[in-house]
């Protein structure tokens, strides 16, 4: 604990020394003739060149009122001419296309339409060559008993052949 407080005290003392250094730096005298050099630089700066960037020069404002009016008229003419040019080049607006209303009594309606699904073709099953005759007999029997789909017959024939 004592060591810590000693360390802190020493550190703060050093920080105090550091502030003393900063004070020394802050207290350094300015070089001789600084004010004169600054003033000379300010005088070298063209009078009003900085402040008049956005101002109209005062003398010409008084002396050349006619020129000022002419300049203003020229600006107005340029702006107006430019606006007219833009306006005249704009294409006339295309008239909106009216879409005739279809429906009701005079038009087509899908209200009574009946959907007819496409019928699929009967799939054909190719039987093995050695069971062709047996399958043919069974098919013949099936035809005698009643109408059956080709798919069912094919499957039965395949089952029989795998049973053997």
């Amino acid at each position: 604990m004592n060591m810590h407080s000693e360390k802190t005290a020493r550190g703060l003392a050093e920080a105090g020394e550091a502030e003393a250094t900063l004070r020394v730096i802050a207290g350094l005298p300015a070089p001789a003739g600084l004010e004169d050099r600054v003033k000379a630089r300010l005088e070298r700066q063209p009078a009003g060149s900085l402040a008049r960037v956005l101002e109209w020069p005062a003398r010409s404002w008084v002396r050349s009122a006619l020129a000022r009016g002419a300049a203003a008229a020229a600006i107005v003419a340029v702006v107006a001419g430019g606006s007219w040019g833009v306006y005249s080049r704009v294409q006339p607006r295309q008239a909106p296309i009216a879409i005739p209303h279809v429906g009701g009594a005079g038009g087509f309606s899908s209200a009574n339409a009946v959907r007819t699904p496409k019928t699929l073709d009967v799939p054909t099953v190719m039987l093995a060559a050695n069971h062709k005759s047996a399958a043919g007999e069974k098919q013949a029997d099936g035809k005698k008993k009643g109408p059956r789909s080709g798919k069912t017959v094919g499957l039965q024939a395949t089952a029989q052949s795998s049973g053997k």
Partner: protein
């Protein structure tokens, strides 16, 4: 040919403004130089910053009458200029600081060796100060100017007086840690 009275008024106004500006230069150029030097630590750079400050004032000379405290206003301008320059410039090596400090530090009754040792010590302290966070460093640098109160420092930095105090407290503690750490490494 008749000249409008507004021309004379403008001339008179400009003359008054120029005189006011010259008075400001006489009164505050030295203070501004010291503020600039404490940051830039180079005599010619500091002088340039002072020049630029007064050029900015010249641009806004018509507002001089509206400024309440010219000293704080000017310090604020030079402060912003030097911070901007420092941001753009690369970090100065400590050896440059030692050379410059040896040149500018007062050497009354000191031998060449003592001067060199003092310059080295100050440069080392300044290098440690450079490691502080910007906010704390700025307050610490400005507090070294005895003519600036904490209220004025707050005004220059655009913060409250209590912030100045708390930042200064933190800066002192951090500085103590940094110097302690540096000493343990040696």
């Amino acid at each position: 040919m008749e000249i409008a009275p507004s021309v004379f008024e403008d001339e008179a106004r400009r003359h008054v403004e120029e005189e006011a500006l010259a008075a400001l230069v006489d009164q505050y150029a030295s203070t501004l130089y010291r503020v600039a030097f404490s940051i830039l630590r180079n005599a010619s750079d500091a002088e340039d910053a002072v020049q630029e400050t007064f050029l900015r004032v010249l641009r806004h000379r018509e507002t001089l009458g509206e400024i309440r405290d010219h000293r704080v206003w000017l310090i604020r301008i030079v402060w912003n200029i030097v911070l901007d320059r420092k941001r753009r410039a690369k970090t100065r090596p400590e050896t440059d600081d030692v050379t410059e400090l040896a040149r500018v530090l007062p050497a009354h009754g000191l031998s060449a060796e003592q001067r060199a040792a003092a310059a080295q010590h100050h440069a080392h302290v300044l290098a440690c100060a450079e490691q502080l966070p910007a906010k704390e460093r700025e307050v610490m640098l400005l507090s070294a100017f005895e003519e600036l109160s904490s209220v004025e420092i707050a005004s220059v930095l655009g913060i409250t007086e209590s912030s100045v105090r708390s930042r200064l407290f933190r800066a002192r503690n951090l500085m103590a840690d940094l110097l302690e750490h540096e000493r343990s490494l040696r």
